[in-house]
């Protein structure tokens, strides 16, 4: 019986002996899995490098001149609800910015200023807190 235990072990080694490492690694399934993991990993790395949540842009009028003191409101949109609004105003060069918007994915931007039509833009990011920017063009109201 001692012999049979040894012979079993020998057979198990025989069984796995013919499986070469190359067979195991280089086939279509492993390739697909590796490619998926690499793509996912690189996307994660890119996302974590850019997710400070800094959102900004410039407001100009139809002629291309910057519009100062326009009110810019940002409102996050969830599937069934909306988050609270945050607002800021553009500086003398028409730039606005919303720092620390790390929870932002889909949202609405409403830009208003006296004498212009209020503009609503619906926008989405590709991951939460992506650093991005939108430039808005205001048209004079009739």
């Amino acid at each position: 019986m001692k012999d049979s235990i040894f012979s079993t072990l020998r057979q198990i080694r025989l069984l796995f002996g013919s499986l070469s490492l190359r067979d195991l690694l280089v086939n279509r399934l492993v390739l697909v899995i590796v490619v998926t993991l690499v793509v996912t990993g690189s996307v994660q790395v890119f996302a974590s490098a850019n997710n400070d949540g800094h959102f900004s842009g410039q407001v100009t009028n139809a002629a291309g001149e910057p519009v100062a003191d326009a009110t810019v409101v940002i409102q996050g949109l969830n599937i069934r609800s909306q988050t609270g609004r945050e607002n800021t105003t553009t500086d003398e060069n028409g730039y606005y910015e919303f720092p620390n918007q790390t929870d932002l994915l889909e949202f609405r931007i409403i830009v208003t200023k006296e004498g212009y039509e209020s503009t609503v833009i619906r926008y989405h990011l590709y991951f939460k807190g992506q650093n991005d920017q939108i430039d808005v063009t205001l048209h004079k109201s009739e």
């Binding site: 012979s7 079993t8 057979q11 069984l15 599937i79 994915l105 989405h124 590709y126 991951f127």
Partner: protein, 300 residues
Amino acid sequence: MSKINEKINRKDVGNVLDKIAVHRGENRVDTVRRLGYFVVALVLALLFFFPFYWLIKVAATWPSGSLYAGTPSLGLESLELYNFIRVYYEIPFPRYLFNSIVITMLAVVGSLVTNSLAAYSLTKDFVGKKVVMAFMVAALMIPYYVTVIPAFLLTNELGLLNTHLGVALPFMTFIIGTFILKNSFDAIPDSMLEAARLDGASEIYVLFGVMWRLAKPALATNVILAFIQTWNAYLWPLVVVSDRKMQPLPLALASFTTRFDGNFALQYAFAIMVLVPVVIMFLLLQKQFIRSVVQGSVKE
């Protein structure tokens, strides 16, 4: 080629068709007929495939407000992949994917081993073989959903509710797979097995070393049938799993649909994420898939 500027007339078309026909070894009438078949089949296949086209189109449309208007548009416009990202943030998709993968792996590996052992036993001639065969053929007639409620109670008794093993256990053997493997093992000549045994191989080695190597198509059939059965299973996991975190993909999709009722773009995006693995597997292994499914139904 010097005739480019002349009008094409019927004789030219006839010449081209003749050339093609001679190349294929038949006459012109047959080629035209084949062309006709191709066109008809193309139209039918495109019509048949429409739901998949619609699935992709709706899932890739953002903003989806246009979907709730009265008239949907059939064409492709405003294509964006945003819905998939939204779904990814709303639900723990990797967790559900993991559950599905674990349950399916358990079922596939378990069914390979179990069915192989049973098929190997069935190739021998032993006391009571007729009874066992009759039992297995009779068990084929018991559809699994008739057994669902008591099986749920049994799983409860075993303490396997809400576990991967509890979901995978009934799928770890299926009679059709055993019979397919048995037919394949029967086809291996006895002389090979005798030679292996004479060389000192134990029974386990004869099964896993010799027979498995020679019956690879049947093993592939087993794997594919088990995979399809378990990956797409809805009723049994629904009964066994009540914990949200342990849900496999079909359950996750169904509960997502009821939670986000009316939000079709997101539902479609989730459905695509669920379908992609199987479609990719099918595209890579088409012939084997079709052959496995045919073998599993036509018990010759």
